[in-house]
């Protein structure tokens, strides 16, 4: 019975997310038409317009067809990972993104680990010491973290630790795992400050509510060890709201990565997006946007899966996206 409920829940969620991805793909395709100038001009970019090139482009992108037919044609390509050709470099968008996504994934995971390792314990401690000096200090740090955009913290770290103290490399991604770890440490911390602040805030809020519950007082009075009360009884119940915000957190990581890659001159997909935007390379922007949407939606599905394990009560009834 329970297995069936879970299966129905997951299938419903997966379908809802697929529909959402389809809607987003429609908007992403629309980008080509939102851009100033007609689609031919956008696709031509800086290339000289000759009659034969225009004819070739019209045929290739089915520009003579209706908008909807063009969309279906584009979607068919996108499903087969064919996102078109970059106007500026002439390479396929898939190749461009594939060559650069490694740095961004490395940076993102590195920053995420730092944020979780600092943010969750910080939030728990702040909640345990609710309204004391320690709490105020931790909350103050997180408030500062929310107020400092990733590129600003990046500049501060760059100046203090790379230029002034000379402990870290100034730019570039490095080669080999250890060197890469070394090069990406400052960018990862720059990115992690804002993310950590968000996780800390969410953890604290959830833990404060949970620690007020009767079952916590009951567990304490039964003589359960404090560590066990906090982790097994407290944190496990507080995890729900934190995990639910996973999509939000991922969004902050993605946005931060774009800014941080710019500060530290890292060749990730964030700097690819900014270059593409600067040169009006619409296919690349489309590719990035579709990828970002797919990542966010995939993450949301994983979050639903996690939720099932954290809180078995949530088999049904959770609101759509």
């Amino acid at each position: 019975m329970r297995a069936r409920l879970i299966a129905i829940f997951l299938i419903r969620r997966a379908l809802a997310l697929l529909v959402l991805l389809l809607m987003i793909s429609f908007l992403v395709f629309g980008l080509l038409y939102l851009a100033p100038g007609n689609a031919i001009q956008v696709l031509l970019g800086t290339h000289p317009a000759s009659r034969s090139v225009i004819a070739a482009l019209t045929a290739k992108y089915h520009l003579g067809d209706s908008f909807f037919e063009q969309y279906l044609f584009w979607l068919k390509g996108a499903i087969h990972l064919d996102l078109g050709v970059s106007i500026q470099t002439g390479q396929t968008v898939t190749t461009l993104i594939g060559g650069r996504i490694g740095v961004t994934i490395f940076l993102g995971i590195y920053a995420f680990l730092i944020s979780v390792l600092l943010g969750v314990p910080g939030g728990v401690i702040a909640a345990m010491r609710n309204r004391t000096v320690a709490d105020r200090a931790i909350v103050g740090i997180s408030l500062l973290g929310v107020s400092v955009p990733a590129f600003v913290s990046g500049v501060f770290l760059l100046y203090l630790l790379a230029i002034d103290a000379g402990w870290f490399p100034i730019y570039g991604p490095g080669t080999g795992f250890v060197d890469e770890l070394w090069h990406l440490t400052l960018p990862a911390f720059a990115l992690a400050i804002g993310v950590m602040a968000l996780i800390l805030k969410l953890t604290r809020a959830a833990m404060v509510t949970v620690l007020e519950q009767d079952y916590i007082a009951f567990a304490q009075s039964r003589g359960v060890s404090p560590a066990r009360v906090i982790i097994r009884h407290g944190l496990r119940n507080a995890l729900g709201p934190i995990v639910t915000a996973g999509g939000l957190i991922l969004g902050v990581v993605l946005t931060g990565a774009v800014l941080v890659e710019q500060v530290f001159a890292l060749p990730g997909i964030g700097s690819l997006l900014i270059t593409a935007v600067g040169t009006k390379d619409v296919p690349v922007v489309q590719g990035f946007t579709l990828l970002a949407a797919a990542i966010l939606i995939g993450a949301n599905f994983l979050i639903d899966l996690c939720y099932l394990f954290i809180d078995p009560r949530m088999t049904t009834g959770r609101a759509a996206i």
């Binding site: 309204r131 000096v133 400092v148 501060f156 100046y159 805030k201 900014i274 935007v277």
Partner: protein, 290 residues
């Protein structure tokens, strides 16, 4: 900060009184910073010692000196003057976003909370959808493709902010709806519109104000990020995010050219967040959970 802290009695009245006294110094400093920033935004070029865009290519980059408090950038422009004039871009956009989201979000939130029904359902789903979207990233893509810079970004950010505001106002309206004074007013035959605006809304004001301050801080951080990427204000207009990006290569020759706008940004955003959090905490002891 007082040296002696009273033990937490758990008594609500006492706790909220304590919260009201606590932050005075920090909030005073934050308010002062915000007043300075707003004054610079209004009187910018009058307060600045030099013209913000006056170039002196022969002079070029210099660290801080008597004529140039924060030094100059590689065009020989005075950083201090640019910092002051740049306050305008740091205030106008975030203020427009905060006020725009306030007006739309409150109107929809009141209707959703008081009238309910389909409007309510629609607004809640919209808020659910928008909540986890990376607003700045969407602004980068939209502004990057259709152009329009700063003000297009302002519109995009309003669109991505108001549904969340609406949800907050809706929740607060639902709490008010069953209060005796609302029933009494309804019995008197007041129109729903008048009831919502004149009777319910004033009771939500502290929450609305706090949320507007937080929105301001968040929008400032987003918009300056956009300018940092070169997608915000036009190139010649002084803007803190833009200055940061342009002067990044000067970190070794005149670090202040890059650090001063960074510090200005952090101070402004932190002040606004502090004021917002303080307003929010004053009205409830719900902590800093938003």
């Amino acid at each position: 900060m007082t040296a002696i802290t009273a033990p937490d009695t758990g008594f609500v009245g006492l706790a909220s009184k304590r919260g009201r006294r606590r932050p005075s110094l920090l909030i005073a400093v934050s308010t002062l910073i915000m007043l300075l920033v707003v004054a610079s935004a209004i009187f910018g070029s009058l307060l600045a010692p030099q013209a913000a865009n006056a170039q002196n290519l022969l002079y070029g980059v210099h660290p801080s000196s008597a004529q140039h408090l924060l030094g100059t950038d590689d065009f020989g422009r005075d950083i201090f003057s640019r910092l002051i004039v740049g306050a305008r871009a740091a205030v106008i956009g975030p203020a427009l976003i905060a006020i725009g989201a306030l007006v739309i979000g409150n109107a929809l939130g009141l209707i959703a909370g008081y009238v309910g029904g389909r409007v309510d359902y629609f607004i809640m789903r919209l808020a659910d959808l928008v909540w986890a979207l990376p607003g700045l990233l969407i602004a980068i893509v939209v502004v990057g493709v259709i152009g329009g810079g700063y003000y297009v970004a302002v519109v995009v950010l309003i669109v991505l902010t108001f549904p969340v505001d609406a949800r907050i106002v809706r929740g607060a309206t639902l709490q008010q709806r069953n209060m005796p004074y609302v029933e009494a007013a309804a019995t008197l035959g007041l129109s729903p519109l008048r009831l919502m605006i004149r009777h319910i809304w004033p009771n939500l004001l502290p929450l609305v104000m706090a949320n507007t301050f937080l929105n301001f801080a968040f929008s400032l951080v987003s918009l300056s990020g956009l300018s940092f990427l070169g997608l915000g204000v036009p190139l010649n207009t002084p803007d803190w995010g833009g200055m940061l990006a342009q002067n990044l290569p000067l970190l070794q020759s005149n670090a202040l050219a890059c650090l001063a706008p960074a510090i200005a940004l952090v101070l402004t955003a932190t002040s606004m967040n502090l004021i917002g959090d303080w307003t929010y905490e004053r009205l409830s002891d719900r902590g800093r959970a938003r």
